[in-house]
């Protein structure tokens, strides 16, 4: 779904029962690569998928704090663009969605398409029961 309205909040909601590890990812932006510097946070940094579930269900908050006004877009590693922000000093966004595996979010300058930061959100799985095909149909009496 593509929006072209002023960004309010975009959220990725982790839609699975979970135990969330509320770590915060915080990275310092490389000043040389984008001509300014700042800090980008994603919270939580990881979540744990519990038994009988196969993905996380949790909002993810992306926040930033730059020293100078900055344009940037946030994408998944596979190239899917989540949102863009322009002339930003500080702010945050909440995104909803399903995370089943460890996912990398990358930050891109919209003008040059250069990546200047990436943050990994780790999806951890409690050991899942191993299933296999059974020899007989269950409860086939005869």
């Amino acid at each position: 779904m593509i929006f072209s309205s002023p960004p309010t909040r975009l959220s990725i909601k982790f839609s699975f029962g979970l135990l969330l590890l509320s770590a915060v990812a915080s990275i310092k932006v490389n000043a040389e690569s984008i001509e300014n510097s700042g800090v980008i946070n994603i919270s939580p940094r990881s979540c744990l998928i519990t038994k009988n579930h196969n993905h996380c269900e949790r909002s993810l908050i992306i926040s930033w704090n730059f020293e100078t006004a900055t344009d940037f877009c946030v994408l998944l590693k596979n190239g899917v663009q989540l949102f863009c922000e322009y002339s930003q000093l500080a702010g945050k966004r909440e995104i909803d969605g399903d995370l089943r595996v460890t996912t990398t979010f990358v930050f891109q300058k919209p003008e040059t398409k250069n990546y200047f930061a990436k943050v990994v959100v780790y999806v951890l799985k409690k050991s899942q029961p191993t299933l296999r095909k059974r020899y007989s149909h269950p409860w086939s009496i005869f």
Binding site: E85, Q88, D96, D98, Q128, Y135, S136, S140
Partner: protein, 280 residues
């Protein structure tokens, strides 16, 4: 300030595990599963003067390891396992045993998943008319088996040989099944055929001269028997423990069996209606 936003879809993320691909025919490995079926069970017998078998309680148990498995009294080892197929070496009981009243009700309940006679016990004659039959024991057969599971259908075949030394016979089984679920209901039905070697037919349905009042009334099958069958199973799952069950099976006996003097029917019909309970 403008933004182009995309709400991520599931497909945007890599999917490593999805339990929905493995439903009714899958089982959790590394643990024992124990259950019991309670209800009205009835198996007709083709043997003259033998009573039909009534089974109100039928135990169910299984254990599946990575390759080894026990599914009731079927014991197997899966040499090759693909996403849709499996090549196994299995052992299972021959089920003709349950038609003879030398088997107790408990043995008959287990013979649906096995069943034992005691080879060391004295051979007490069974009187059918003027025949004094020796005990017919359960035999255990082992051999290779191949399974293939398509979308909603399955194929199963096996070739097994008696290893108890009672008759050294062989059985070949071919079965084609179909299954589907509808809400809490699941349905499965299958057609198949069991080819029983002459040795097996003679062991259970043959009459030795010393079992017969007159030597000329002895019976020896002249060939193997092909027994086609149809089975239907349905269940309604109330919760994790309880389910409602209906199981039906009909087998058609061919003349190698029906020409035996102790056989007076050419079919075996089995039905069970009741409830299943999973202890764990």
């Amino acid at each position: 300030m403008t933004a182009n936003e995309v709400t991520p879809e599931i497909s945007d993320y890599e999917v490593l595990y999805d339990s929905s691909v493995c439903k009714l025919d899958c089982i959790e490995t590394g643990k024992w599963h124990l259950g019991v079926a309670i209800g009205l069970g009835h198996i007709t017998t083709p043997i003259a003067e033998e009573d039909d078998t009534r089974l109100p309680v039928i135990p169910q148990f299984s254990y599946y390891g990575e390759k080894f498995f026990v599914d009731n009294f079927t014991i197997g080892y899966s040499f090759v396992q693909g996403k849709n197929y499996s090549l196994d070496f299995i052992g299972d009981f021959n089920r003709d045993f349950i038609h003879f009243h030398t088997a107790s009700s408990v043995q008959k309940a287990f013979v649906l998943s096995g069943g034992f006679g005691d080879p060391e016990s004295p051979k007490i004659p069974v009187h059918i008319g003027d025949y004094d039959l020796k005990k017919r024991y359960a035999t255990y057969l082992v051999g290779p088996s191949f399974r293939y599971q398509g979308e909603g259908w399955s194929l199963k075949t096996s070739y097994k040989k008696d290893v108890t030394g009672l008759n050294y016979g062989t059985e070949f089984n071919f079965e084609l099944g179909q299954h589907f679920t509808y809400g809490k209901w699941s349905f499965q039905h299958a057609i198949g055929v069991v080819w029983k070697s002459q040795e097996i037919v003679n062991y259970y349905y043959g009459i030795e001269p010393e079992e017969s009042p007159f030597p000329e009334l002895a019976y020896s099958a002249q060939g193997a028997a092909k027994v086609p069958y149809y089975e239907f199973n349905t269940q309604y799952q109330f919760n994790h423990q309880w389910r409602f069950l209906i199981s039906i099976k009909s087998e058609k006996l061919n003349k190698s069996i029906t020409e035996s003097p102790i056989v007076n029917k050419d079919e075996v019909n089995s039905v069970f209606v009741g409830f299943g309970y999973d202890f764990f």
